[in-house]
Symmetry: D2
Subunit: 296 residues, 4 copies
């Protein structure tokens, strides 16, 4: 059998180390078995390693083999939450010349949800799984992207004053009735550092992320259910700032044993219905910092 | 000078005519001069011709040359509204083996707009210019994509009834006060057939398309202006169906001399804040049909 | 129980019929059972009906209920190929005031493919299913989007001449050796009209669409396999024109019993590696026309 | 005049500081005057500030006012390279309760380029301008996104061996002739830390980024020019690793006076024509580190 040249293994013209070399946008279906339940993930995966100054290139096909190795035995995958870590560790074992590997995985995931109408709805979420592995340790995160609705508290007070000008009512009726305001789709993203000793369930994270934005948003709403969703959103109008703070508080409370220095990232982006741009807020912090804020 | 083989001009293995051959996504900056005013368009252009069964391929570089020929003399371009027609006719003159050419142009276009606050705002629109040219004639359209806000009339009546349950007020106060409902960004697209004898101004079309969705949406709104926009949207709640009908009526009235058989396409798409999907309506008709509806 | 107002059922201010009203971007997981095999589709669905001049709006939640009705019994779905038709017929039965319904469904679909390396690879395709139903009949199409690689035949002959200038070899060696040229990803889309008496398998359509662009493109290729793919693409360099003709010929031959007037649409789009724009070709024809071309 | 409630200025329910609050996706046309030349940028801008624990929300409309203040006097803008810094400093001056501001600006920019054919071509680039400002200092970066073509050196050696098997020629002819390989569009991004004492010209950065990927890619190429581009790409086949190293070397040489600790980020992403995924390399370093590598 002919041996083809190993071009990647030769010396580069410019002997410079590269921090990240890899593949982006690998499309892969992953099936995870949890007891009776099968979770089908349609995932998109990026895999990177570092390449030393002494080597022209990385053997990129090995990154894909690592993904295949990890995922071809659905029953053995250690959970959605550690998919990126499983792959990152496998990658590192296949690249003797690399000191770190990095995996970003995002996947569409349909979950059966029951909002207050009592019916079951299939809702699509986006799972985020990330890991950076070195010889000694891994830093791993799990996250979720959810959609909801938020109503603006500022415009609500302005319209309340304006309604009072047009309809001078007695008493404080207008102060009690929810006043009109702009509302819109809001995307909440939560990414939390985790490890095998400090685990969380992706479905719990969905609940935490969705609550402040009145989620889940579902495709079928009968009149009364639609009215109640609108009512709920207007009884609790929120800025993007309020939303990230509520999620942050909920995470600090829900995971009391997570290490102080573990990272937490929470964003809320509101597709402002009155503007052509979006409003955005981001908490970029640690469990320790969040706990400190809440005590003060 | 060496002559390189004309591979496109050879006979194809399978002697079959092809309806459209061309280039997609050509990025081109176009400057149009109108008196003192310069309009800068950042455009994306698709150009197609038909290729006969006798010929392997089309000389695609000529499509780009046609774009260059038409646009390199800004002062001579006959107007945004006929850019696609100008290019389509030039293309046809360069392809002796083709019987028709087709050009789709879309461009970002910033227009200075003054909503009710009296201030000036730069608002981005998307212009659409299309033309199909044959030896004898051209069919040309001009269009616009705008963004606005619509409030749902159905949820408004449901919440009004719900508010009445919670706050049993005397008289018909609740019937007068605008009730809360979901609202959201709405994208309106209008495309109209035109010709050099039946012209329209792109800025007029923007006005027509924006009015039913309370446009323009601008980036800066002070409290009172924000309140007024919300108030206006709730005083005139609209389904996507209402929006396309209002635009259709306005077009029929604004262009009374356009030929009966000239096409009109109007769509409204609402990014439903209470759902993960969008609501959509489309009128696909002719000036003749629109006029008939309005008389009945 | 309180009855909430039926706003959609009231008379519109402007009594104009609307050709399409509905929902866009409904996200839905669909499982289809074929014997032992389960096909998981992550689909995006648009559903439209027409609305008469006498009615303000359509009951949009019924469109989603129709999707649920059709898809909640996986074993009973009549096949990927007729999903849109099944939904369109169900929709029409739920809208007494509409005369037609229209469904566009696209879905990600992973198929296990074996290119020449003998290994199995999961490859992602995009399925297209469309149907327009009226009281008496349906017009239904099935399609597929695939990716491959094409090498340009024109630049190949130019570089062959240029190589001959630089390396004046004896004999016709250069004419035999595949010469360098630009190559790139190519996206082929095929959509064919079908009905329950004239069926096709989606996996056959994938084979037909992929063959002229040297597909499937897979994520792992060992050196020899990579070399062979490059060799194959250069031994058969193709314009987008060649690709659509080859697919058209193959379809005409593969489905000899499909009715003469049934539609066929084939496109090939090449992400030109030497340009910032794409090359594009489209056959928009009928089985009858394709058969006629091939006989001539 | 009625005063509307300042909801943003109230105390939040959860007294937690937020690291980033702002607007995303503001669309803005910016004109920069340099002597006789006018540069038109169609920009998309994100602006963020931090919000203290004591305050419910940020006054987001002030972010837009800051953009307007900076850009409405084209002649006074201090250059494309410092647009984000100018805006970030203006933002900070408008937010007394914030300690830092952050601006990300990206803009489409057409530049007139002359590749070797001697003709002039309009080529679209994407400019990146970023700045983080605090009371005392700013950290500012300027960057560019360009497109080119790269040919794979690994597959080239494999096909050379395969050609040798099929055509056993005497001597080393095959070693001299460029052998076929896969090639594809490659996107190179370069972002460099800068300040007013260490400036660079955006057009120089384009030259540096484009050179290793045989840019600029233009829309019109006559046969000989097309052949030469293909020839050039195959005479210098490159991995993404080679590309980022060449750009890094060129930057280190071109800007010898930039401070040691100033950051440099270079990425190359190759739309692999033989795969459904992309190859990627990233240098994430400082001028100091780059200089050290090159000396070794």
């Amino acid at each position: 059998m002919i041996k083809y040249p190993d071009v990647q293994g030769t010396k580069p013209d410019i002997p410079m180390a590269i921090q990240k070399v890899g593949v982006k946008g690998v499309l892969y279906p992953i099936i995870i078995r949890r007891g009776e339940r099968e979770i089908h993930l349609y995932s998109t995966i990026d895999v990177f390693v570092d390449v030393p100054a002494s080597r022209k290139g990385a053997d990129l096909s090995r990154t894909i083999e690592a993904i295949e190795n990890v995922t071809d035995q659905p029953a053995k995958v250690s959970g959605v939450e550690f998919l990126a870590e499983d792959i990152a560790e496998k990658v590192l074992s296949k690249f003797p010349y690399s000191t770190r590997s990095e995996v970003h995985l995002e996947a569409d995931y349909f979950s059966e949800r029951s909002p207050e109408d009592g019916k079951k709805h299939m809702v699509k979420y986006r799972i985020i799984s990330r890991s950076v592995a070195s010889k000694d340790s891994s830093v791993t995160s799990i996250g979720i992207i959810v959609h909801g609705i938020n109503a603006c508290p500022c415009a609500m007070e302005t319209t309340r004053a304006m309604t009072g000008e047009e309809f001078p009512l007695e008493g404080d009726i207008l102060a009690k009735i929810p006043s009109i305001t702009h509302n819109q789709r809001n995307t909440v993203t939560v990414v939390i550092q985790t490890d095998r000793a400090h685990q969380l369930e992706i479905d719990d994270l969905i609940d935490i992320a969705e609550k402040p934005v009145n989620g889940p948003l579902v495709s079928v709403l009968k009149r009364r259910d639609e009215g109640e969703l609108v009512y709920k959103a207007h009884k609790n109008p929120k800025f993007v700032e309020d939303i990230v703070r509520e999620v942050a508080e909920s995470i600090a409370i829900s995971y009391p044993d997570f290490p102080e220095d573990y990272g937490v990232e929470i964003t809320s982006e509101s597709d402002e219905s009155i503007h052509p741009h979006n409003a955005f807020a981001k908490v970029h912090s640690t469990f320790g910092e969040l706990r400190k804020s809440l005590k003060s």
